[in-house]
Structures are given as C-alpha cells and as structure tokens.
C-alpha cells in the first residue's frame, strides 16, 4: 500500500473513531427517538418499531430512504466505539503479565459466554432456585464473569481497565438488542381450564392458514404471512392445487365486521362475506393506554392453478376466526379450512391448565395475585411436570419464558401466558454486570491512585 492511500485509510478510520462522529450519531439517535415517538400517535407501536428502529433506513412511502434507521445508527455507534477504543486504548503489559492477563481475560470471556448461552437454557420447572432469590442469582451470574474480566483488564490496561470493561458491556448490550430484534419471538398462549395448548399466537401479526384436515392424526397447513398479504397480488401456494390472490386495497390492518346489506358493493362471493363485510379502522396506536390489538381482515380470491378459474372470494378476518372459527373451501374434491388468524408458532411441549386463580384482597375487587397451575408435558424429552406460574414469577423452559400476562375476564377460567423465546435473555445481565464492575473498578483505581499520591 503506498503512502497516500494509507493516509486516506487512516483518515477514514480516524473519522470513524472520532468523538465528533459519536456526538453526531447520538444527536441523530435522539431525533430518531423523538420522531418515532410522535409517529406512535397515528401508528401501532410495532409498526413504528419496524419503520423507525428495527430497520436500516426510515423510508418515505416505504421506498425512499430519508433518515438513518435505528439499526444503522446502532451499527455506526458500535463501529465508532470499537474503532475509537482500538485506536486509543493500548495494552500496557509485557511478558508474563501480558500472558496472565490474556489468560484471565479468556477465562472471563468464556464465563460470560457460558452465562449468556447456557444459563438461558435454565429449566425452572425443576425449581432449583428459590423464587425470592431469582433476580439476585441472575445479578450474581452477570457480576461474576465481569469481576474476572476486570482482573484481566487491569493486568492488561492498568488505569484504563474500568473504561475498557464498561464499554465492552455497552457493546454486549447493543449486540443483545440486535440479536433480540432479529431472533426473539413473542406470543401469547391462551389456555382454558382442562385444556392443553401447544402453540403461541403473536397478536402483532396475522397469517392466512389453509388447512387440509383430512388426515385424522395431523393437519397439513399452508400459511401465508401478513406481509405477503399486505403486498397483494397472486401468491403461489406450494403443495395445493390452487393459489390465492389479494387485491391491493383489500387487506385491512385493522378491521371491524358489520352486517353486509343489500346494495353495498361486496367483493365476497363465498362464505361469511356474503353476510358480513369488513370496515377499515385506524390501527391501534402505541400511545393508546387500552392496549388493544389490531384485528386484520382481507378479501382473498382462490384460483385454480390449472385453469386459473376463480374458486370464489372469501372475507377472512381474525375477529371472525376467533368468534366463529374457520370457513370451508372446496377444491379438487377436497375440503380445506381457511382462516385468517394470529401468527402461530408450535412448541415441542404442551401446557395444560389445571386452574387459574385470581385472588383479591378480602372484601374488595383489588387484585392480590394472578396465578396458573399448569402441567408442562414434553414428549421429546419425556418430561411431565406440574408447575405454578404467577405474577413476576415466570416459568423458564426450553429457552422460553412464560409469564402470567392476562386472563379471560368473562369466565376467570382461562389464563393468558406471554411466551417469550429469546436465547439471549441473559446478555443484558452480563452486559450490565460489566458496566457496573467497570464503573466501580474505574472509580476505585482512581481513588487508590489518588490516595497513593497523598501518602507521604
């Protein structure tokens, strides 16, 4: 590499690692948070998350990029942080001290990795930790590896050990959010007493399910995700003798159902749509305190793949599916059940609800505790266990966390469990442990340095 090119690269890296860039990126982030918050007046929180934060660019009309998205700003901040530290922090150790420092750092890193990747697989159906000590144990699990890392950093970086460690903690926090945004799944499991459920539903997103239930043992299911339905057009249904088509203006993110009256233009030619029609509603916004969910609806036309002849247009709606169930489509001498429903994810285990309990303070309607007595059964692992899930005491099983979230207010005989699948849920504990130990360690290093100077 010749000298001018080398200078150019160095200048670029100096810019990428500069404090100016940090300030600019933080400023842009503050503006992004502000406009993202304003956008929640008219859009649902998850739409805003997708359009402003969990994306590379904020786009006008979903096409023209006009502002850096949360993912781009986060990535730039991360690169800025790593490059500035690479340039400014120098290893202060030589010889045996360097080797011992690196070894301890390696042990600390391995411990951190173990905590993030293995503790998250903790199976709380065995209740090895007393519930009252659960948070304390998790904090210790975050602080322990951080303390080891601090010793390694101190041997290598001396007076800057705390700064290095706390920034490493910040890096873990940022990567953890990125991992969560890409990998974590969240949904709800609604179980009534005496019922076993083995799937979760994500009420932030819908899917069109076409079900061949002719096999008495299993259903053959083809699902079309909401994003594909929103785009509209013809969608190929692999394995089925027909395809589905959605007109661009016939998918509603949130819709009511109303009686279809004679004289109204009605796209539906089959099924429930002959009696009811969809009415567009505004999305429930992120600032709405009632936490209502959007109930999408769509008019879908099924077309025979061979002849391209229409098999009919159905009104499909999540609300209809919840209240009345699936509709029937007959094609090729076979019945298929069709339903627009909340996106489902099946679990390798089932949750059976023995009893839901809603305790109130005596003589009042003030809630005291919500709890669910459930049985977890896992045919793959040959496990059957009775467990209790109650407020602030989730069940952790197979990297899923099942929280007591809500209940069926009408009967008080059904529980709603929030099921979060996030393999990296321990990462914030590890990251914050490093930030905490880094800050305290840096303070103590300065304090001891100061005291040493004061001593005669």
């Amino acid at each position: 590499m010749n000298s001018p090119e080398r200078n150019l690269v160095q200048q670029a890296l100096a810019f990428l690692g500069s404090l100016w860039l940090t300030v600019i990126l933080l400023g842009l982030s503050i503006i992004l948070v502000f406009i993202g918050t304003l956008a929640q007046v008219g859009s649902g929180i998850w739409t805003v998350m997708d359009q402003f934060f969990r994306c590379w660019f904020v786009k006008i009309g979903g096409v023209i990029p006009v502002y850096p998205g949360g993912r781009l700003l986060g990535a730039a901040l991360l690169v800025n942080l790593l490059i500035s530290h690479s340039a400014r922090i120098k290893v202060q150790a030589r010889g045996p001290r360097l080797l011992v420092g690196l070894a301890i750092l390696a042990v600390g890193t391995a411990l951190t990795w173990f905590v993030i990747s293995h503790v998250s697989d903790y199976d709380s159906t065995q209740r090895t930790i007393d519930p009252s000590l659960r948070i304390l144990v998790q904090i210790i699990q975050g602080l322990g590896p951080a303390a080891v890392l601090f010793v390694g950093c101190w041997l290598l970086f001396r007076r800057k050990a705390g700064i290095v460690l706390l920034h490493a903690g910040v890096v873990i926090l940022m990567l953890s959010e990125l991992y969560t945004s890409v990998q974590a799944e969240e949904g709800q499991m609604t179980v009534f007493e005496g019922q076993r459920i083995n799937y979760v539903e994500d009420n932030r997103s819908a899917e069109l399910a076409i079900i061949d239930a002719s096999d008495p043992e299993k259903d053959d299911v083809v699902v079309v995700p909401q994003k594909k339905l929103e785009k509209g057009g013809s969608i190929r249904l692999e394995g089925l003798p027909f395809d589905v088509e959605v007109a661009p203006d016939q998918f509603y993110k949130n819709a009511d159902l109303a009686p279809a009256r004679g004289g109204d233009a009605n796209p539906a030619t089959q099924g429930a749509g002959l009696r009811i029609k969809a009415q567009n509603r505004a999305e429930n916004s992120g600032v709405d305190t009632s936490s209502r969910v959007d109930l999408p609806a769509a008019y879908v036309t099924f077309k025979d793949r061979g002849s391209n002849a229409s098999l009919g247009t159905w009104l499909t709606s999540v609300r209809y599916t919840i209240e009345k169930g699936a509709q029937t489509l007959r094609a090729g001498g076979k019945d298929y059940r069709i339903a627009l429903r909340f996106k489902r994810t099946y679990k390798p285990y089932g949750v059976y609800l023995y009893q839901f309990k809603f305790d109130r303070y005596t003589g009042t309607d003030t809630p005291k505790d919500y709890s669910s007595n459930v049985r977890i059964d896992d045919p793959e692992r040959n496990i059957v266990r009775d467990v209790r899930i109650w407020m602030n005491n989730p069940l952790r099983y197979r990297r899923d966390t099942l929280y007591q979230s809500s209940f069926d207010a009408e009967t008080e005989k059904g529980t709603v469990l929030q099921v979060v699948t996030n393999g990296g849920w321990m990462a914030p504990y590890a990251g914050l442990g490093q930030v905490f130990v880094g800050l305290v360690g840096q303070f103590l290093l300065h304090l001891f340095g100061f005291l040493r100077k004061q001593l005669p």
Binding site: Q188, F192, I197, N203, V223, K228, L295, G325, F342, T411
Partner: protein
C-alpha cells in the same frame, strides 16, 4: 501495523452489513390437530316440564368420563312429576346458579367437570331448537329435524327415556373464544358515532358472564348482547313510544301470541324498578319465539330492554335478564 488495531471494528461492520431478516415466505408444515371441546347433553321429559342435563369440557377429559356421566343419567327417576337422582360416590352437588336446578361436580382432579341441570316448562322449546342451541355453543352448524333425530342416542332411565347428544366442536361453550385463541378486547364505537358512545357511558349495569356484547349495535340500540342464544337489546326512543299496551301487543304479536288490547297491561305485565323509575316487565312466550322485556315510558323518552330468541334460550336466561334489568342505572340519576 497500526491498521491491525482497527480489525475488530471492521469485522463487526462487515458482520452487520451482511444483514438479516425474518422469514416472510409462504410455509407448509404438519401440525397437531387443534384442541376440541365436547358436550354431552341429555333431555328428559317429565310431567309439565323438560329437564336438561349438560356436561362440557375439553374433548379428551369429557370423553374419559363419558361412561360415568351416562351411568348417572341411567339412574335418574321420576317422582311426583319431578326428575330425581342419586349422586354417585365422589360426586358433589352444588346449588345451581340462576335458572339452574342444580350443578354436580365430578372427575378425577381439579377443576372438576360440571354437570348442570335446567328445568324448563312444557317441551322447553323442542328437541331440534335445543340441540341446535347446543351445536351453536360448541361451534357446529345448525341442522334440520331429520339430522337431529339421527344424531341423538336414546338412553333408558328408570321408567322413562332420555335423548342424549354427544357433540365435539371447536368452540369452548359458555362464552369462551375458540380453542386457545386470545379474545379481542371490545372495540370502541367509530369516531363517526360519538353520540352512541356518549349515551352508552351514561349507563351502568351488571354484565353476566356468557353474554357477548356486539360492539356495533344496530341504530337506535344502545347495547346489544348475545345472551347464550337470545338477543338482548337496550333501546331509547324519543317520546312516549306509542303507549304501554301497544308495545306489549307488538311484542306478543312478534312472539306469535294474540294481542290483548286494553287487557295487555293487566294480564301480561308486572311492575319493576327500572333505571330508577317505574317500569313494566313483560313476558310473551310463544311456541317458536319468546320475548321478555322491560318497558319504561315517560313524556320525554321511552326505554326498552328486550330479550328475544327461542323459548328455551329465553326461559333459561329469565332470572339473569331480570337481574340485569334491575341493575341498570343511569349515572348520577337518583332513585
């Protein structure tokens, strides 16, 4: 090699720029069958009345206890025109709720299965309408007389015969949503209808479990409920609404009964407190249709709370309806 120092930062930049996204493609997979619900219902005719026995629960659980339930039904007997029973070991009788004669709890673990007993006058609305009411509750299509007759099983008790149906369907009976699906929160009325919202917020009343509110009632209706097979509506109209007798006769005609003219109030209405004022409870039970209603008239406006549906459904909800009528209050209105 100063440049090597920047390697970690560049590595992360490369890793991130590779990008990532969730799978938004059409998928095909094999899934276990959705959980189903089951209902075993038995209809027992006795003198002047019909008795209904019903057990509901998850399909496998009710299936496991079906023989136990049928054995109990076989042991029923009629004494003095009333159906009597002997509780098997392990069964517990609980006092029935409104409109229920009794409830029995049984089964091998908590929560126990519950068998409810309801007694309705006459034929209780007939076999087909009751079987169809049950089919609707469990999410099955309604069927005709011949199919109903083919679907029932005759069970011999002590000196009389029971008609038993065993239904499996996708909907949880007694008001629950289908399978494991989360119930949507009731939607507020659209912004183009602020007046309805305003009127609704003026009233408070007891909302019985099992009654499902239609968030978008038809015009002039303040509330609309599906009361386990019967339609309950609350309507307010300006003026006197045509007078009490005329309204009673209108309902009687709708139920297929003779109008009573001037005798209407005296013969088919009883006074009741309603929204803090005087009201009239009216009963018009026809052969195929029954109407139960409360009317309150004054010179400025008239209020109608009405339950309309098949006789079996309306009679079964009679006590609940009366309780709701008595609980209906206007905010800030003193008795």
């Amino acid at each position: 090699m100063r440049l090597m120092r920047f390697a970690p930062g560049l590595a992360v930049l490369l890793a991130l720029s590779a990008g990532c996204g969730r799978n938004d493609e059409v998928r095909r997979y094999q899934a276990p069958k959705d959980p189903m619900w089951r209902m075993i219902g038995a209809i027992a005719p006795a003198k002047d009345a019909t008795w209904f026995f019903k057990v509901t629960g998850s399909n496998d659980r009710v299936g496991a206890h079906k023989n136990e339930a049928l054995d109990f039904l076989r042991g029923l007997r009629v004494e003095d025109g009333e159906v009597r029973w002997t509780l098997p070991a392990g069964w517990r009788e609980e006092k029935g709720g409104p409109a229920r004669i009794a409830s029995f709890l049984f089964g091998d673990r908590d929560p126990k299965l519950e068998m409810t007993v309801v007694r309705l006058p006459g034929d209780g609305g007939g076999l087909t309408s009751n079987v169809n009411r049950w089919r609707d509750q469990i999410g099955l299509e309604k069927i005709g007389d011949a199919e109903v007759a083919a679907s029932i099983q005759k069970l011999a008790a002590n000196g009389f015969e029971l008609q038993v149906v065993d239904l499996v369907g996708p909907t949880r009976p007694a008001g629950g949503p289908r399978g494991g699906m989360a119930r949507p929160a009731p939607e507020p009325p659209r912004s183009s209808e602020p007046s309805l919202d305003g009127v609704r917020s003026m009233f408070t009343f007891e909302r019985p479990p099992g009654w499902r509110e239609n968030p978008q009632p038809e015009k002039q209706r303040v509330f609309e409920f599906d009361a386990e097979g019967a339609l309950v509506t609350f309507t307010i109209m300006g003026g006197e609404g045509g007078g009490l007798a005329a309204n009673i006769d209108r309902w009687r005609t709708q139920a297929g009964l003779e109008p009573l003219g001037e005798q209407a109030v005296a013969r088919s209405a009883t006074p009741i407190r309603f929204v803090g004022a005087e009201g009239w409870l009216v009963e018009a039970i026809g052969k195929d249709r029954a109407i139960l209603g409360v009317i309150s008239l004054n010179s400025q406006f008239s209020m109608f709370l009405k339950m309309d549906g098949p006789p079996s459904a309306v009679v079964a909800q009679r006590d609940t309806f009366t309780r709701v009528a008595q609980s209906l209050q206007m905010r800030g209105r003193n008795e």
